[in-house]
Symmetry: C2
């Protein structure tokens, strides 16, 4: 690899990613709303209708004119005439005049002439028709107005929003049964390294099974992409070049999880460098773990060269891979970090972002982050960890008791 | 419904659910690990192997005997003879004697006789064979021991754990390619109410589209179950009874989201009461929203009668439905709540748990929860909300600035 690449900071790289890959636009696909959970909206959703579409009772009781109840109290009830009962899902047949009321259930449509509903608990029916009302209601009370839930023409949901159960319910509510979401970005995952074998194989001594293809596939799924596992590619220039070229043709992005040997790194670096213009954009990031990260662009598609250590590969993909997936999804939301306090002093070198694996302990509602120590080659440290805490480049560590944001892994 | 049911507290009901439905045991099914993300482990996973299985270098450098470097420094380097280079994925051909070293890459296997690795940065190779070492290493330094990542026979993952990307990677690493997970609980979802129509239909005035079937399906998926939407069932005893009976036969649990009218509630209540012993267990919970909740057991299968209001149905299913799904999954983990401070005073009646919809604002790393006001009949309030905050029964409200736990919805 050329030697003139300057090691960049994480924030510089993130900013550059948005610049270099800003052309990665979401592509829409229409899905039934029942398949829409966790998908990202491709377009704003404008409501085609009012919801509920008619004035609707929010309680069980009697529809009436509020003015007929003014001054009503336990001691001096208002007296109204009940002229009928409103059926659910029906347009009321009656029109209320002064001094009249109609029985109504929660969700029932208000009859013409009514402007409010008195709760059944605040009334007494004497015989069939005479209603005592013990509490005054104001106009609009206990009524869901025709456009109170959702207004026709309002922006119900914004593009870039990830659909939750309630969003899908709201779409159903206004009659939208299919929705345009961003196509899942296809992320090609390649593992390389002569020491690697497939998980189903029995490794000979000196060999090791491919872990990164599986951790990275899982992260791609979590971030809303579709993993395309190419498996283990032989550690030669030709084999790797061919695989990456195929990956660029089939995927929106290619991730190569480097074997950890010098030789493999060299081959990976050369292949990425030879994919064409503009080529390698980043070679080396001031972050731990994950310094030897490579980011390139081949025909406008991102190629990410990750370190071979399982922890490094996950952490780096969680920063840069996720950023690229979000671009292609058009995802506008952030990831919610969990607040905790650091349980121990932890040192870090200034000038480098450190990602510390941590477990979480809850005590009296307070979450404490405890560092999980161990080499970044140990997948078990990520299994024991609940997330990571970032130590910014400008800090030389975090003291016990300091508040921290935990990225859940 | 019989009148003798006592309104129970949320915690009482939760405890009772574990008692009444403690017989709901997870059922295992074997899936390929690549389909395992977010599934809950049916059994402990014991590692069949050591990982990495051999002593492995954690860095690029030279394998050697640590004692040969004792006292080495910039001023007084140790001098060793390089007797070869270790190929990746190979069993080293050499055996190191005193004063000897072998080139090794990250991930390479240590040769016999070596107990540590010196980093390449701390050495100088003079000619082909003479190695200057400027820094002493201790035994084991820069080596991942044969069982340092995962030990043969250790419990790698516990039953009841939800699989994350790193867990799947660790399974791959020890050669486990298929894993036993809990079958997804099948949750039958029934909507009833004469005012309801399917989302694809054009409602007549007075009618409204079915929202709850869709919000509840989404929650079931989020909680790890499989929704079986039975759609809108006519609001008659016979139609509903038949649907619920079919639901009990086909599902692990039946959820009826009641139409909101008195008539529908009565029919739902009678049907649930007639399903057989032990029948209705809870009728009324001191919670807002969601007081008219019904929980029954039909042949040991839970039947949950939810209020018709979209917000109430979601909140109540999020409490009790999730609890039952977790039982059937054997899920042991909790849900991580997000810490925030309340942004406004909010009142609540003592003796009743209140669930307040809130949005979240982030400011200088501090999350503030702002109540989203509005009737529980408005799905739009859940769309605007980011989660809920619980006000316990013993409290009469939460003051501005008080810390709260947010359940993300």
């Amino acid at each position: 690899m050329p030697e003139f690449f300057k090691v960049m900071s994480v924030d510089e790289v993130k900013e550059k990613i948005r610049e270099w890959f800003g052309h990665l636009k979401p592509e829409g696909e229409r899905v039934p709303i029942e398949d829409g959970l966790d998908r990202v909206l491709f377009e704003d959703v404008i409501s085609p209708e009012n919801l509920p579409g008619f004035d609707r009772s929010a309680v069980d009781g009697y529809a009436l004119k509020a003015e007929d109840t003014f001054g009503a109290s336990e001691a001096m009830p208002a007296l109204l005439e009940v002229i009928g009962e409103i059926g659910m899902g029906q347009v009321p047949a009656m029109c209320l005049g002064s001094g009249q009321a109609a029985g109504i259930s929660t969700g029932g449509m208000l009859p013409e002439g009514a402007d409010s509903v008195v709760m059944i608990e605040d009334t007494d029916l004497l015989g069939d028709k005479t209603l005592n009302i013990y509490k005054a209601v104001s106009p609009g009370e206990n009524v869901i107005r025709r456009d109170e839930d959702i207004k026709k023409g309002e922006t119900l949901l914004k593009k870039g929003h990830r659909l939750r159960p309630q969003d899908i319910g709201a779409l159903a509510g206004v009659g939208i049964t299919r929705v345009d979401v961003s196509r899942r970005p296809r992320v090609v995952i390649i593992s390389t390294g002569d020491e690697l074998v497939e998980p189903a194989a029995v490794p000979r001594i000196g060999q090791i099974r491919d872990i990164n293809s599986y951790t990275l596939s899982g992260l791609v799924q979590q971030y809303g992409g579709e993993p395309l596992r190419f498996g283990i590619i032989q550690d030669t220039y030709n084999a790797l070049f061919e695989a990456v070229e195929k990956g660029i043709a089939e995927g929106d992005m290619v991730v190569i999880s480097g074997g950890s040997s010098v030789g493999t790194r060299d081959v990976t670096g050369r292949v990425i460098g030879d994919l064409g213009s503009p080529g390698v954009l980043v070679h080396g990031v001031s972050v731990k773990p994950g310094k030897p990260t490579i980011i390139a662009s081949a025909g406008g598609k991102p190629v990410l060269g990750l370190p071979g250590h399982p922890v490094s590969a996950m952490v780096i993909f969680g920063i840069f891979g996720r950023e690229i997936i979000n671009l292609k999804l058009g995802y506008r939301g952030g990831s919610l970090k969990v607040k905790a306090v650091m349980g121990r002093n932890i040192a870090s070198s200034a000038g480098r972002e450190d990602y510390i694996r941590i477990s979480l302990i809850e005590n009296h509602g307070q979450l404490t982050a405890i560092p999980v120590l161990g080499k970044s080659g140990l997948i078990s440290t990520m299994v024991k960890a609940r997330g990571t805490v970032k130590i910014p480049a400008c800090k030389e560590g975090i003291r016990e008791g300091e508040p921290v944001d935990v990225e859940i892994f």
